[in-house]
Subunit: 373 residues, 4 copies
Amino acid sequence: MTILRWGMVGGGEDAFIGDVHRMAARLDGGYQLVAGCFSSNLEKTKTSAIVLGVAEDRAYADFHTMAETESQRKDGIEVVSIVTPNFLHYDNVAAFLNAGIAVICEKPLTVSLAQAQALQTLAKERNTFLGVTYNYIENPMVKVARERVKNGELGELLMIDAYYLQDWLAVDIEHSGQKQAAWRTDPAKAGRAGCLGDIAIHAYNLLSYLVGYSATSVNARLTSFVEGRKVDDHADIQLSYSDRLLQGRVLASQVMTGHENDLGFRLTGRKATLEWRQEDPNVLWFRPLGAPAQRLTRNGPDYPESLNAWCRVPAGHPEGYLEAFANVYQNIRLALLEKDTLHYSNIDQAVKDMAFVEACLQSHDQGNWREVE
Amino acid sequence: MTILRWGMVGGGEDAFIGDVHRMAARLDGGYQLVAGCFSSNLEKTKTSAIVLGVAEDRAYADFHTMAETESQRKDGIEVVSIVTPNFLHYDNVAAFLNAGIAVICEKPLTVSLAQAQALQTLAKERNTFLGVTYNYIENPMVKVARERVKNGELGELLMIDAYYLQDWLAVDIEHSGQKQAAWRTDPAKAGRAGCLGDIAIHAYNLLSYLVGYSATSVNARLTSFVEGRKVDDHADIQLSYSDRLLQGRVLASQVMTGHENDLGFRLTGRKATLEWRQEDPNVLWFRPLGAPAQRLTRNGPDYPESLNAWCRVPAGHPEGYLEAFANVYQNIRLALLEKDTLHYSNIDQAVKDMAFVEACLQSHDQGNWREVE
Amino acid sequence: MTILRWGMVGGGEDAFIGDVHRMAARLDGGYQLVAGCFSSNLEKTKTSAIVLGVAEDRAYADFHTMAETESQRKDGIEVVSIVTPNFLHYDNVAAFLNAGIAVICEKPLTVSLAQAQALQTLAKERNTFLGVTYNYIENPMVKVARERVKNGELGELLMIDAYYLQDWLAVDIEHSGQKQAAWRTDPAKAGRAGCLGDIAIHAYNLLSYLVGYSATSVNARLTSFVEGRKVDDHADIQLSYSDRLLQGRVLASQVMTGHENDLGFRLTGRKATLEWRQEDPNVLWFRPLGAPAQRLTRNGPDYPESLNAWCRVPAGHPEGYLEAFANVYQNIRLALLEKDTLHYSNIDQAVKDMAFVEACLQSHDQGNWREVE
Amino acid sequence: MTILRWGMVGGGEDAFIGDVHRMAARLDGGYQLVAGCFSSNLEKTKTSAIVLGVAEDRAYADFHTMAETESQRKDGIEVVSIVTPNFLHYDNVAAFLNAGIAVICEKPLTVSLAQAQALQTLAKERNTFLGVTYNYIENPMVKVARERVKNGELGELLMIDAYYLQDWLAVDIEHSGQKQAAWRTDPAKAGRAGCLGDIAIHAYNLLSYLVGYSATSVNARLTSFVEGRKVDDHADIQLSYSDRLLQGRVLASQVMTGHENDLGFRLTGRKATLEWRQEDPNVLWFRPLGAPAQRLTRNGPDYPESLNAWCRVPAGHPEGYLEAFANVYQNIRLALLEKDTLHYSNIDQAVKDMAFVEACLQSHDQGNWREVE
């Protein structure tokens, strides 16, 4: 097995998602972390490097130096993961694309559609890989759902809903030292879209992945339920699809008390409905009209062989969040090494997702439906 | 126990809801059916009377005669149930109110707000009881939810959702002899509101019952997904409550494949969320912020003694649809006999519900938010 | 509809099951309560009679007089329900059989196998109906399960389990004035079998109903977990079926903390497994080998038309404990009026169930397997 | 982070569990696979070595050579995992213990109690680590359950049950080329205990872990439901605990149609019951007497801080089989590097588990209760 030489920007101590990326990459087994700029503080970067087994000379003070230096080393990194706060993504990604190094970026890709489009253009010009880590679509039962939609088992689609409900921001923790909350609710760091850019984007991406196309217009109600909060913490969005009967909805909330990480969807067609919840990820409900509901399981009966590559253990041995995240890393590894182009986490959808975010902000401002660019 | 002398208009053979009313009244035990006009066809009425143990001379050819005759008998009916198609409700109810006989009417009360208001006025003028059978609010765990909202256990309410999802109209059965479907999708008989007037009204009534007030404006998307259908079979409605942060939603569908009678709600406040589903009616989920979710059960631990009167059997012995319906009959019996005025199924909320229906139709026509009268 | 003239022995104030029988009979609609001996205390009987609408002269001081008097009235009762503590069943039942009046008796039929056999003989001699109220087998989804077993959809049966778990006797409430607990834990009134005779018998009856035959030997561990209790409150019983591979188990407990009325079964054959829980009675799980599990629903897809008579409302409108109990009354009414002999609650199985109880007691005493008579 | 030099015996192509061990070790991040004897066929071992990134000269033809050679290399392995069929464990483990190399062995430790005791003695003599991979007890919610038992939140324990239900051997696949089935049903390779040694042992180990002590006697019914099968495929075992009221049961089956990997437990004490299922591993049900049931979640409200080390991601981000397995590797790494002795997968319990297996075989042979050595 070829092991990719891998770097990381962000993901030092106190970080949540950087560690997730490292666990995912290890579980995949095809990456070796050899360079990093884990923090804007060099001391912290050096400490992290020691813990992570990165050589001292490859613990960088800034990402520009890292991109330049690594691109010139014979054993330089082949791919880098960007796990910094949103407002840094654009500069981070551009630096590595310019250096000809493949990039894996956390969602949202950028803080504006224009930035996203610029990176898309840059990646094409440089002919360099740029992928975005939409991890939830990598759950095997999500893929089963997509297959069933494609195969027509639902019939014409009528209604699609996705929700992402959390309660970690139900009270004002951003002003009491919770670092994750602090930057995610600060428009200067997270962008203008709060809950919208953090989790509604996952729900929307999931729907687009499942049906194979994007909404043409949106009607968004964005709310900050917690006093003094500078970004939305609740997003209720209606979706339209021109030239289709289909109606959609995305509901995302960070103040839905009693909900932990409750992402899920319901897809209804004339012939059947499919339902899935991320907190019970090994199960997909298939509810046909006029026949008993079926509880489909990962790797269980009727699981398609064509999806075996995204499973690691047999039916009844639950896989979860990290396994799906590891699938992102697997997909990208195969894309890089085998020029496999079938997989999903590509730049084009990420740009569409930013167009969705921007259309939602405009819809909210104008209090009406707004076309998605 | 005093037994009320009871009559019925509608509810002959082939009827669904008439039989439900009779089972509910029997389960309550306080009603004896002694008169009826079960069909517009006298022969059918007579046949039903025999089956139902109603004397031949009290099987009436028309409801006007029934109202007049019964009001003059010494042993005439004290209360009548109206279970005819919607468009007949107004005339049916008015006839009995004018005769001074208490009325129990199926929802929706009428086919227009104006009719509903007229009946409300008439009932007051005649000082005669008029109740509407919203059966779902009579589930004991719904009442537990209402208590918890009242007691402040949820904190300030932020979001409330109710849904009512069925699939029995997913295909065009109204043109193939299904009588229930035929009248319910015929605007001349059901009124202009299809799914909206049939089931969205239940979901809206449920929310109003739970929180104790009604929405001030609505934004409704009404759809007829089945070709050739003359009324909506899917209703997606946003609710606003002026002077409150609260946001609401009602989603009702008769084409949601794989869903039988999936009514439920989620109420979210700053301190906790409550969730209930009619298909699992003995359970209520209480999800406090920062503490484990609790599965509350009917008559189980923490069930309030004050709600014992709406339970018939101990915890773990499931009650269901008919028990809740029997509670409607119990409530009305107590209202009539003991002048108990605390219970719910009264005319005032039914008029508000018709105002909601009318506002939704107007919102849909105009494609925008609309105030509820 | 012909209405049966009906009497009751037991079921006065403070009683639980008497009221259940009355609600079940009312829901069925084919019974009118016209006579009763509701208590051993005549004053209490008279008070109950007033509440229940029974004429004063048919409120009897003792059951012997009631049996004799009613059998001689032209309008005397056609059927009587016995809802007294277990030790009275034998005398109660015998008196009415001797008077030629059909009898509905609560389970367990008697406090010994010999008594049960004597009543079986008496009923045959007198050619008089004697049925026992095993209400749980009257849940429609239990009947669906039985059909599937019969039709071979499970293949050869390998393992069958039934459980009945409660916690209402987890502490010593019999000595603090709880009347239900007091007589049910008093061997003089309940018989020597505590939990075994009260609820394990339901679980065993359920298994026998489902598969169509009874166990040939048992290995019982009976325990009194609560100090000072005079009967078992926990029964763990292995079942054997000679000439079959089949293994069975009954687990019943009244001290299983956190369980309300948790009766259920799992039937496993070579081709599929079926699972059902009484607390969620409208659902039956069908788990075929090599195909996705199906969630079958009452009156839903694949529900057999032949079982419609045991349903009252459509799919998604939950039925529960009282509806199943009303099916017992419906079955008996049809047996009496239409000589319908297909239904189940007959004396023969009740005697087999008493043989099971007796074998369990002997097995427990001897600490080993024991044949069932 | 110190990385352990790690070897493996077994786990070549076609193997299931070897790959699981490697994924678990990678997820932990503290192991580097540098040597192996992956198959009894050297060519296969060499192929595996290439795929796994093991140097050619450390791909060994036999485990004796591997143990000897590695123990003499300066950079030799510090720890080895044994993932061969059961009958090889004894020789494999002994070789490495004799070479002074720490050993991680798959369960069951051996094919007889005597062998297990011999290895226990050897490990002590050599003062060398020997751990057994009981992965299921490493689920965080299992640990929460153990804490609650210890803290007395269940009160005195009355009944404990564990089950492990699968259906992969419901038909005779061992004679049609399924390699996993072939060796696991071959007494020469798996030992005399089939289902008993393969999965009942997990259930028993789980109970022992949860309560902190082992059963004192067992009553086992072992069955081979599939014709021609040479080992049991179904094990129903009663457990006694002398000097305690406590009763236990283990039910394990490989022919329970419709069940994938359905391991779980129920622990009942006087004050509360705890329930957990491996297929939904992030949830633990706490059912107190007289208070509503609580749904506890991994890392959610009331999750003890002391158990944080066994979690990788926040509440609502499901962990599963591999995460628990990685905890085994984490525990062992800490035991080796930091002389942490608090963790569980040690030899002493593994020997007790073999005593359980042996007692079950004897109980089955004699048809009666049998003390556990």
